[in-house]
Amino acid sequence: MTDHLLSLMTFFPLVGMLIILFLPREADKLIKTVTLIVTIIVFFISLPLAFDDVFLTSSAMHYTEFVNWISVGQYFQMNYYVGIDGISLWLVMLTTFIMPIAILSTWNAIEKNTKGFMALALLLETGMLGAFISLDLFLFYVFWELMLVPMYFMIGIWGGKNRVYAAVKFFIFTAVGSLLMLVALIYVYYFAVKAGVPFENGFSIIQFYQMDIPGNLQTWLFAAFAFSFAIKVPMFPVHTWLPDAHTEAPTAGSVILAAILLKMGTYGYVRFAIPLFPEAAMQFTPFLALLAVIGIIYGALVAMMQDDVKRLVAYSSVSHLGFVMLGIFAFNLQGISGGILQMISHGVSTGALFLIVGFLYERRHTRLIADFGGLSKVMPVFATVFMIVTLSSVGLPGTNGFVGEFLILIGAFEGGLRVFAVVATFGVILAAVYMLWMFQRVMMGKVTNPKNENLKDLSARELAIMLPLILFIFWIGVYPNTFLDKMNPSVENLIKQVKGKQQIAMMVEDVDQTVTFITVND
């Protein structure tokens, strides 16, 4: 059973999808219930991972499965090679945890074509889980692209007014990057084979990690990977798909997009781009850190001026993900662990924010800040929940947002990105500005719009959606060691490996300059 735990978890949603395809279209509630049950089952399947203490001490991949998948003579071989370590563990858990919540949030929101929506949601879950557990680059790519399709339809069919533009933009933006990555990954493979990596290992990243790729080549390959991931993150100049996609997507779509899909980009950096091309990563560090910091400030500034709540939250994601990138490129334990923790927290709190916006939208069918005001009076419970989530997003100590940001900043400060860290810290102020201003305009003041007077407070279902998220907001905030302890060994290992290579590269460079003429043969 545990031998195939990951596969079971990943492909169970597909089974669920098949079941759903055979249900009658009209059985709205039944379809939703089945989907919910499926996602909950997936969550329970994945639960033993979270309680496995092996991650506390070991940095290796666990629960690995290795099956030969596509094998063509001496041309190439792809394997179904999956496994998780401390880095992917929590992202997997986040996925399985967010999915039931997202599904539950659709209860009243999705009314047309429920069947299609649920099928797509389950397909999406498979894609996301698969991407997080893949240890074979090719397999990763397959899952990575697989995620695009359901999201495209979710935005396009169930989205808002401008959904077509948003959906197409989302799709093409992401695909352009990933196609370049495809070229790069094929190149890496052939390079590896020529360098003597056994052909049978396929696109196994564990093997690729061992390789020494010449510096110049690394630069190009890293650029391709980094570009692809940067779009997904999204980093500063290539972020504009995100506000559109987030704003137009239905609530569940936004939640999944923000909570999980965006993490693909940052995860990609940690798992692929950096350890595969450590020297290039080092070269690119100032550049990417700069972009990350610009993203932090820029996202916050733009978020501040938004008049649409959802768009605001979307831009806040740009800002928050900038922190994650900064942490990752600090190249030290605090930075990267903080980055990963921040991925989780951002998943939780931004997911929650989108849910909240969704609640508002369901009630009023508008997302414009100006249409609200004074809701605290009408919806006190909602106000409390909203406040907590807002604070978590602001990064108040004691909530999840703080721990991640703190670790990132301290990591960046320690890791030689001091100026960036200072500027990024400034972003913390702006976060308070835009979030609280939004909160004020939506929740405080007098009820000016008569339509707002009789809004219902949160229902039990809605509260049930929010409570687990709030629980985690505090859990991560108060006792993050639950999460940190299990990711630290892997992160430490990653850093050791990356740093080691970087140092060797630097030494070699020095040696090269002096000893070139001594060595004659290649």
Binding site: L301, L333, K377, L407, E414, M443, M444, D485
Partner: protein, 665 residues
């Protein structure tokens, strides 16, 4: 021994959770809610007292108690740990003591308010955060409290969230505090990085930082000493939290909150966090004379600046607010000149009398509000121009308010006298002090006396200016309000006796300065190490003391003369210097300056980023590429004319070109 320290913050947290979760639906009864809230804080107070007395009898004065680990990442190890030493003990007593009084007061004051449970929940949460701030044994736990109190301040200022001004003020407070927190975090990073990265001491623990601070003496960053940079950053944090120049503007606005909140948070406890923080890290600060000088100067300027604004305000709470800012300036002067003990001492006495003042004003407002309500008027119940002659109607309030006024003015043997004089003396005589600072502070002290008595007189003396309809409804407040007033007034009177200066102590008969003695383990070390001491003859000290008393009297006298004897004088003065008055009345236009300088420019920048860069440049490029490809498509598409011969021609041309290229090569 000290392993139950966690109980201290635990009770308020529990109270907060109980009231917050159950208050609205299940408890409902105001009495029970109030009892839970007050009781929680009172329990904390009791526990604090127990430990305080335990500490008094203990030879070891520093105790740490680690509850659990918090963040463990590599060499960064942070615990949920508490530090109990004389400094935190005093703060604990102040916070829980004054806190429980104000809770008690609130039961009466907030009676009938919507969201009563919410209020108490917030208030308990505040106490919890404050206790975390005080008790934290490392910078990060302190930061939890630091931001936590900011949050509670935000929540409580925005308590009347239906008022737009309240929401604005709340947000302003939070953001300003955040600016300060920015500095705090930076300071933390600098310390952590230099101590750890350069000297291998990876820590954020106060005790360890203090022990290892000497390692930093030679380190430079940006051409400045590390300690200077770090402490300046920390001081930025302090200016935010403690409303010093240039980040003070939120505090007067914070008066939008309920008055007990102003008393507790914006007078007695939270705003003093900056002072406490400096005291907590006095070793670091002592290492940097530059920072100390900056602190002293900023404190002094704040003191006089805020006092000047206090001259012209008519809102009773605003006067008190500016007075708070000003008094905080005094404390910073103390910290800046190395009079750590004096600073903390003033912190404590200030907590007593300023809380008392606020609560007194609250009592007045309560009564006024009540009366206005009864009379169906909507005059501003906080405007002093509507008051006057309340002495008869509200004797207890008047008495306590008056005592506190005397205390704040620094009349002899009231608590404020001892603490303020200590500060003045150090400013004058300390190795880190300067004459300039001293002079400014003295003037500020004089101004304090003036505007406080102006306030007292306008409110309680003279003829009654309240609308006659409402007059009769004004009466003394209930016991939950008056009892705290009396207790606080008592403390404001005698609280200073724990820290009688040596000079006077000697004069009276060998009474030691117990307060200084008690805090010595915390401060003595750095003061000795970095040679911070006040030296001067006893006669100088005494003469200065007399001078300050005289000056206070001058202030009081002028106030009496202007407002009691010649009530028409201020109006004349106003009409004579209208510009000057308007300038002062409008708080030197600082808010407007900030608006145009920071807020609007940030907003403009945001709009530019969005409409200018995002929409025009980035999306412009993206859509432009799409359009370009589309345009190319339209062009290329028309090469497909549908005419056979065009197709054939293309083929032939393609062929001949290809053949030509091939055979010519």
């Amino acid at each position: 021994m000290y392993d139950k320290l966690w109980l201290i913050p635990f009770f308020p947290l529990l109270g907060c959770i109980i009231n917050g979760l159950l208050g609205k639906r299940f408890i409902k009864n105001e009495k029970i809610i109030g009892a839970i809230g007050t009781g929680a804080v009172f329990l904390s107070f009791l526990v604090s007292c127990k430990y305080f007395f335990q500490l008094l009898g203990d030879s070891v004065k520093t105790h740490e108690n680690i509850v659990a680990s918090w963040i463990t990442v590599g060499n960064l190890q942070i615990d949920w740990g508490f530090l109990f030493d004389p400094l935190s003990a005093i703060m604990l007593l102040v916070v829980t003591g004054v806190g429980s009084l104000i809770h008690l007061y609130s039961i009466g004051y907030m009676h009938g308010e919507e969201g009563f449970y919410r209020y108490f929940s917030y208030l308990n949460l505040f106490i919890f955060s404050m206790l975390m701030l005080v008790l934290g044994n490392n910078l990060l736990v302190m930061f939890v409290g630091w931001e936590g109190v900011g949050l509670c301040s935000y929540l409580l200022i925005g308590y009347y969230f239906e008022k737009k001004s309240a929401g604005d003020a709340a947000k302003k407070a939070f953001v300003m505090n955040r600016v300060g927190d920015f500095g705090f975090l930076l300071g933390l990073f600098v310390i952590f990085w230099t101590l750890g990265g350069k000297h291998g001491v990876w820590t954020l623990n106060f005790v360890e930082i203090s022990e290892n601070a000497h390692l930093l003496s030679g380190d430079m960053i940006l051409g400045l000493g590390v300690t200077t940079v770090a402490t300046l950053c920390f001081f930025l944090g302090a200016t935010g939290k403690s409303a010093q120049l240039p980040l003070y503007t939120w505090l007067p606005d914070a008066m939008e909150g309920p008055t007990p909140v102003s008393a507790l948070i914006h007078a007695a406890t939270m705003v003093t966090a900056g002072v406490y923080m400096i005291g907590r890290m006095n070793v670091l600060f002592a290492m940097s004379p530059t920072t100390m000088a900056v602190i002293a100067m900023v404190g002094a300027l704040t003191a006089i600046f805020a006092a000047s604004i206090g001259f012209a305000q008519n809102d009773i709470k605003r006067v008190l607010a500016y007075s708070t800012v000003s008094q905080l300036g005094f404390m910073f002067v103390a910290m800046g000149v190395g009079a750590f003990t004096a600073g903390i001492f003033h912190l404590m006495t200030h907590a007593f009398f300023k809380a008392c003042l606020f609560l007194g004003s609250g009592s007045v407002i309560h009564a006024m509000h009540h009366a206005m309500h009864k009379a169906h008027l909507d005059d501003d119940p906080q405007d002093m121009r509507n008051m006057g002659g309340l002495r008869k109607k509200m004797p207890i309030t008047w008495a306590t308010f008056g005592i506190s006024c005397l205390a704040i003015s620094g009349l002899p043997f009231f608590s404020g006298f001892f603490s303020k004089d200590e500060i003045l003396w150090w400013a004058f005589a300390s190795s880190r002090g300067s004459l300039l600072v001293w002079a400014i502070v003295v003037v500020a002290a004089c101004m304090t006396a003036f505007y406080m008595f102006r306030c007292l007189i306008m409110t309680f003396h003279g003829e009654q200016k309240t609308n006659s309809k409402a007059k009769d409804y004004i009466h003394e407040s209930p016991w939950t309000i008056t009892v705290p007033l009396i207790v606080l007034a008592f403390l404001a009177t005698v609280g200073g006796l724990v820290g009688i200066p040596h000079v006077i102590g000697k004069l009276i008969g060998d009474i030691p300065n117990k307060f200084e003695h008690f805090l010595a383990p915390v401060f003595e070390h750095s003061q000795q190490l970095y040679k911070i001491e006040a030296h001067g003859t006893a006669s100088t000290e005494v003469s200065l003391m007399v001078l300050s008393v005289l000056i206070a009297c001058v202030g009081i006298g002028v106030a009496y003369f202007m407002y009691k004897k010649n009530p028409e004088l201020p109006a004349k003065f106003t009409s004579k210097f209208p510009k000057f008055h308007r300038f002062i009345y409008n708080k030197w236009y600082v808010d407007e300056l900030y608006d145009s300088l920071f807020i609007n420019s940030t907003k403009n920048l945001g709009t530019f980023c969005w409409k200018g860069f995002d929409v025009k440049v980035v999306d412009g490029i993206v859509n432009g590429v799409a359009k370009a490809v589309g345009g190319l498509s339209s062009v290329l598409r028309h090469t497909q004319t549908g005419l056979f011969q065009n197709y054939a021609l293309t083929m032939v041309l393609g062929t001949v070109v290809m053949v030509a290229i091939f055979i010519l090569n």
